[in-house]
Symmetry: C2
DNA sequence: CTGTTAGCGCATTCAT
DNA sequence: ATGAATGCGCTAACAG
């Protein structure tokens, strides 16, 4: 048992130990077992077990040009959406032997750029991207090198890329119908800055359309808030509540983060749900049923989105050359008592 | 501008484009700029920009035996702790040019084993592990190959590895003091199965010690619950509430998941906080202040733990051969109104 | 069935 | 200051 006590075990060590050539070991590794004499198979198996040999993905990758790496780039890993999506991606990656490099951009295009470059350098075979909206050049570069990219949640209009999102327009319409059907006459939209983030833009657009006909006087009450600026939020909230106080008010929170901040703020300034104002919003978590009277939310198929995205990547890797598709998965409203 | 329209750009392409040898380009890449004539530097720089060249980490890695990859293995990425820790790890990784391969074990030793093997195959330079407690053999194998492993949150007693955890004993003592000081006379512990998960064991041990002297009749009321089994939880909860109903009762939830399930269950069976029973538990999230009267929790330095762990990995990579240290970071109690 | 050879993209002697 | 040659660990012809 002359195990090398240091350094990494290579195919060469195994070959020597088993008394065969590297090629034969390589064949064994790659499952061409019935092209090897049974006895050598046995020896090789033994050598591998004995030496604890693990083929280097780096060396394999360099040779066959497959890294077995997938890049998963999210704007904010802290967002439950990202985690759920990750699990979906992971589910199919595990099945096919891929590993995932996770990157977080904090919604910063610069950080995104760095991450993308790093992933490219690592030769990822596929990319799942929750994009900031910049860095198209790198995305082109990925395309040129035939590494499939699929966008998740956020569309990039002028890039012909596979995309998996939610039916934002439909679900926003649905939740607004629900709200107005409860007799609310003044519903406001609270959101983080829309910038060019497609789900935000789509949701906001639908709100604008519907509010224009359903709100008193057709008033559109949209508040774009920097969630880090607590004062700004409080000011917006007070302003919304104080104008036309006789109207029945409700708030639509455009994502989970702003929802959290709004509810916190309401608590602090003593606004009751739903007596003072109804509220509903995107991004369901298990906590919402425990807060106040239970918060009505929109649950997105985050896990499925991740899974679907990765399945798309896989298809591309396997050679699918079809036109980019954008897949819209269905969100659903979870009615609780906050309306 | 004879850009290759397909395939990957290699150092060879750059060399040809710039009219120099591969060696020189390599020197350029590795920052040995002042060993190259200024003119060639200029040409190389231009070639790289023009061709959009990105050195292959796989090839570099194969050569210099550095993958620039770190493995981050968590039991449950869904747990906010994991995400916070990830961000800590990421913070220092970004700084030093490392990328992170994230793996999720779902607390399954088998899955952990697969992940560990995969990471080894990918030649990670370091490993941060929230361990299930099995797979010591692979951990030894990592050690043999000099890839530093640091344990996070969960200790592995018979492995001499760097570990970063929380001061579980101290903080458990503190929260229990707080509870008893409010006049509770019957406090129960609810936890997921302890198995050999060190933080759970430590917290439970302290509870046992203290409950033995502080609870009425020295009763230790420990409930190990499978969070997937809702009935079991409800039964435990009812049993706890119905025995000695005259006592002032409180619950200590040993982690965030069980806390969530307990509160949900309480809500369903109509138990009020803190009138019917007080409650407090581990793993703070921003939601807790919004639930019921606000839930008293223990905030752990998850982000710092990740950061510290990665710093330790880095030290090891840089050659630190000191004895394994176990670093205990400080958690703190966030008092709200649930007690 | 099996070994020999070449080369993936790069860093690094060693000459020059 | 720079190029040629070598090899990292592996796979894939190509012979035999």
């Amino acid at each position: 048992m002359k195990k090398k006590t240091t350094g990494h075990i290579t195919i060469k060590d195994v070959a020597e130990f088993a008394g065969v050539s590297k090629s034969t070991v390589s064949r064994y590794i790659n499952g061409k077992i019935d092209a090897i004499s049974p006895e050598k198979v046995k020896n090789i198996k033994k050598a591998i077990a004995e030496l604890n040999y693990r083929p280097s993905k780096m060396a394999q990758g360099l040779k066959i040009k497959k890294s077995k790496l997938i890049g998963f780039v999210v704007a904010d890993i802290t967002n439950p959406f990202s985690v759920a999506a990750f699990r979906g991606v992971e589910e199919v990656c595990d099945q096919y032997g891929y590993s995932i490099m996770v990157c977080n951009t904090d919604n910063s295009p610069e950080k995104e750029r760095e991450m993308l470059l790093k992933l490219e350098a690592h030769s990822v075979e596929g990319l799942i991207l929750n994009a900031t909206g910049e860095n198209k050049d790198i995305l082109y570069s990925f395309a040129e090198q035939q590494v499939p990219t699929v966008l998740i949640d956020r569309k990039l209009p002028d890039l012909k890329l596979d995309t998996v999102t939610t039916d934002n327009r439909r679900i926003t319409e649905e939740i607004l119908q629900q709200i107005y059907s409860k007799g609310y006459t003044d519903v406001a939209l609270f959101t983080e800055p829309i910038a060019s983030i497609s789900p935000r833009a789509e949701r906001a657009a639908v709100y604008q359309e519907i509010a224009a006909v359903r709100n008193v006087n057709g008033l559109r009450r949209m508040y774009e808030i920097d969630v880090k600026d607590k004062e700004q939020l409080e000011k917006a909230l007070r302003s919304f509540m104080n104008e036309m106080p006789e109207q029945k008010k409700a708030i639509l929170a455009l994502n989970g983060l702003i929802m959290l901040k709004i509810i916190s703020c309401m608590e602090e300034i003593g606004l009751r749900i739903p007596e003072d104002t109804g509220i509903a919003g995107f991004d369901d978590t298990e906590w919402y049923k425990l807060i106040g009277p239970g918060i009505t939310t929109i649950a997105q198929p985050s896990h499925d989105m991740g899974k679907t995205a990765m399945e798309r990547v896989l298809k591309r890797i396997e050679g699918d050359e079809g036109a980019p598709q954008t897949i819209e998965l269905e969100a659903k409203v979870i009615m609780r008592k906050s309306l």
